[in-house]
Amino acid sequence: MSEIYDIGYRHYDGPRLGRGYATRALAVHSLRGVFGLGRTARSKIVPFSLAAIMLLPAIVSIALMALAKQRGIPYSGFAVIMQAVVATFLASQAPTVVAPDLRHRVLPLYLSRPVAVVEYVTAKVAAMTVALFLLVAVPLTLMYAGELLVDLEGPPLTQEYLGAVLMALVLAVLLSAFGLAISSFTPRRGLGVASVIAVYLLSSASVPVVYGTLYSSGNESAAAWAWLANPFWLVDSVQSWLFGTPPHSIESAAYPSGPASLAILVLLIAVGLIALALRYRKAASR
């Protein structure tokens, strides 16, 4: 056996970077965690299979454009059509971002370093947002690249594509703020998964119930507001207002006014972030 020389303790006199760098490092670490990178093979299965499912419609779309010379899924409707997969991804992966640090009480190791609670939460939200954005924007971009290559008749729908990518970012912020807030209230991962999926199902299921009730009582304009209970349709209604895309609600039912939708969207994001901040202020003081 070769001998190991003990060269003694060496001091570190290299650079010490600021809090911005630390926040970025935490965001990257958490983002890797969302996709199970640097973890066991088992923790990669769910995120990568869901990402693969998201790519399937894009591939079918490209094939349709190439062979049948007609468009498949519209860019603006992609997120709404794929909402069940996106919601499953959020429910399964949001708890992995926040729960372990709470459950295993890792938080003090972070807070005894220069980063504060605000930066910790920011990094976690950023990581989840980027993950969700990639989940939606990568297939969109693939479809757009396909459209450019196939060279369909007429100009490419660049504006609709860019609008959809922007709305994917907005959707990602909304979903991660809420998903993380909900899953941070329990240190148990399984419970977090169940809570997030339950909230999504509740918001989804309430749409037809509320819509149907109001519609049958002849209150059509009020019924339109029911769409906004679901985060995907809420973001779609804002997109429809900002970019003039057709509503992707069921049977293309009209949404209520755009500015109100945007206000609700901003309000919901704020509520999610505040809930998260309050949760962590409490956790930090333990």
Binding site: Y9, Y21, P100, P108, R113, P114
Partner: protein, 302 residues
């Protein structure tokens, strides 16, 4: 130079006063912070890290104010919490590299430092395995490694020997002593066991119910109670009487006499008394005085 200094430091919670008018200074080297469970040790450390605002008084760590310059303090100190704090699904290397980055070290430097400190705390090949499968001793080493990885000027170790077996305890204490001497990093280590701190500390601070009982160099603790234990075969009574008559302070402990050492002449007096009374002297032993005894006396007198 003072590593840390507090002035009338007070922390009140709604139902309890955790730190009460604490004024204390700590120099470089290894300092023990001793107190029973709930004496306010952990609260004091949180205040010193700038994580908990004090209700009153001031505290400075490395000449930085805890309320105004908390982030700056946390850049220069390391902290090993008392409780379990390691995520089970990552390897020790990955965790320590990540936490080094959180302290501001660039990625390559973080990797080098993590490898270095993990070697220093005695983790070899197992550092690539997930922490979940580690023994308590190994987990404690990882916790210590993450506190050292950014080469702090000062580290706070909260009950580092908690849950360790006697051998693990010894190894941990030796390591802490090395950190204070070879590594040149000042250490504030808490414990509720005085005996173990006695071996590694230069200075000991004793607190109880958030108040300072005593703060002094380790030498002063032991010097205060120099005694010699005398054991004879028979005739304990006459010996005790004779020594008392010669002006020594004698107390009886079972089959032995404990004589307070007034000076070098005490030994002569004991020897002469034994010879004169024709006693069979079995043992004459320097009293093994533990700071525990001092602690007991001081707690009793409060």
């Amino acid at each position: 130079m003072h590593i840390l200094a507090t002035e009338g430091l007070t922390k009140r919670f709604p139902t309890v006063t955790a730190v009460d008018q604490l004024t204390v200074t700590v120099g470089s080297g290894v300092t023990g912070l001793v107190g029973a469970n709930g004496a306010g040790k952990s609260t004091l450390i949180k205040i010193l890290l700038g994580l908990l605002p004090p209700t009153g008084g001031t505290a400075k760590v490395l000449d930085l104010d805890v309320t105004a310059q908390g982030a700056e303090i946390r850049r220069l100190v390391g902290y090993m919490p008392e409780h379990e704090c390691l995520p089970p699904d990552v390897s020790a290397t990955e965790l320590v590299v990540h936490l080094a980055q959180m302290s501001g070290l660039p990625r390559t430097a973080a990797r080098e430092r993590a490898a270095d400190v993990l070697r220093h705390v005695g983790l070899a090949e197992e550092r690539y395995r997930a922490v979940g499968g580690y023994s308590t001793g190994m987990k404690q080493r990882v916790k210590l490694a993450q506190a050292l990885v950014h080469d702090p000027k000062l580290i706070f170790l909260d009950e580092p020997t908690n849950g360790l077996d006697p051998r693990g305890r010894d190894e941990m204490l030796t390591l802490i002593r090395r950190i204070g001497t070879e590594f040149g990093i000042s250490v504030l280590v808490t414990s509720h066991l005085l005996g173990e701190l006695e071996r590694i500390c230069d200075h000991v601070i004793v607190i109880d119910a958030g108040r300072l009982l005593r703060s002094s160099a380790i030498g002063e603790f032991t010097q205060a109670t120099q005694t010699v234990t005398v054991e004879v075969d028979e005739g304990l009574e006459p010996l005790a009487a004779r020594l008392t008559a010669d002006g020594q302070t004698v107390s009886r402990q079972g089959r032995m006499l404990v004589v307070k050492v007034a000076g070098a002449e005490t030994y002569d007096v004991i020897r002469d008394a034994a010879v004169d009374l024709d006693l069979c002297l079995i043992r004459l032993e320097q009293g093994r005085h533990r700071i525990e005894d001092v602690f007991r006396e001081e707690v009793a007198s409060v």
